[in-house]
Amino acid sequence: MAIEITESEKRVVWTIAAVLGAVVLFSSILHHAFPWVLDVPSNEGINFTSYPAMFLLDLIPISMAALCFYHAYRTTGLYKAMMFLGGSFFFTGLAENVWVLMGRYQLFSWFSHNLDGVTGTYYFTRAFFWWGEMPMVICLGWYFIAYACVHIVGVLIPRSSLMLRAALGGFLAMSFDLWMDPVQVSPMWQSWKWISNETIKVFSIPLSNFMGWFLLIFLFAIAFDKLPRILEKWGTGKGTVMFFLTLLLYKVGMLVVLMAYGAVAMKYVSPPINLTIWGI
């Protein structure tokens, strides 16, 4: 039996669902039908970019996300399940969109002139459903990887401090991406393309990517743990807004940290370093 939710919680659930649906619908139409609006790069020469193939590939992470959502629904109720889903879409989706678009339009110089020579960041190639300039399934991937990492660490060390659990969850997610990223950018898949000239790389992937994986999961785990106290203090409606504002604050902090790292690395790390094994 699932946990009952109040009328105000139901309103929040429907609002989040409607916003998520509307953004996905708008972004997907914009990406596929009007690619010139956001200067979407061509997919020429990339495998599995027909609409049926992209739709089928999208179904895999959607199924994994459904398993985690069902677990959240059964153990914490529909409201918290939706807050985790909506929160991770907002947190990771906005962060990645900012990163992709700042790279596409060369918008780093305002932060530091050390970043004048940055050639870009990365972009995603294939997806049926989009969330801005990021595949919806990447948002869903962040959602269920964050959810699973927090859950696994909670099962393994339930009585440890929040900081330790959040940090181990972040490391677990980062370890996942250490293999996934080189595989997904290989010539066969090219699920996303790195166009960054960042000076420190691991397996030819910019180090900031792995820092981002750690920070996103670490900060989101901390923010979500604070949700009950935020709701207790502000109530459901204002508490929900405060939760999303907290995520926005964390996200701005994270982007500043990553850009500060980039500015220092671009200036002081020369020649570039690439930590590889077997030339990967």
């Binding site: 696994i152 595989v183 290989s186 010539p187």
Partner: protein, 65 residues
């Protein structure tokens, strides 16, 4: 102690994580045609170890859920 159904529900996030690891890392690496990508599997061994340990704890009823 959680019953069998609860244990299964508790294991769903772990299964989702492992399932995606299987697809996006192992299967995609195998299909990439680049053997070097398979050889670096060990960098994600914490994923396997943590997932296996958590499944054992869940099915032995030691998870504090």
């Amino acid at each position: 102690m959680p019953n069998e159904n609860n244990k299964f529900i508790e294991s769903l996030p772990v299964l989702a994580f492992l399932g995606y690891w299987l697809y996006s890392c192992l299967i995609c690496a195998a299909l990439s045609g680049d053997v070097r990508l398979l050889k670096i599997w060990f960098v994600s061994s914490p994923v396997l170890i943590a997932s296996a340990l958590s499944l054992i704890r869940i099915y032995k009823g030691q998870a504090a859920s």
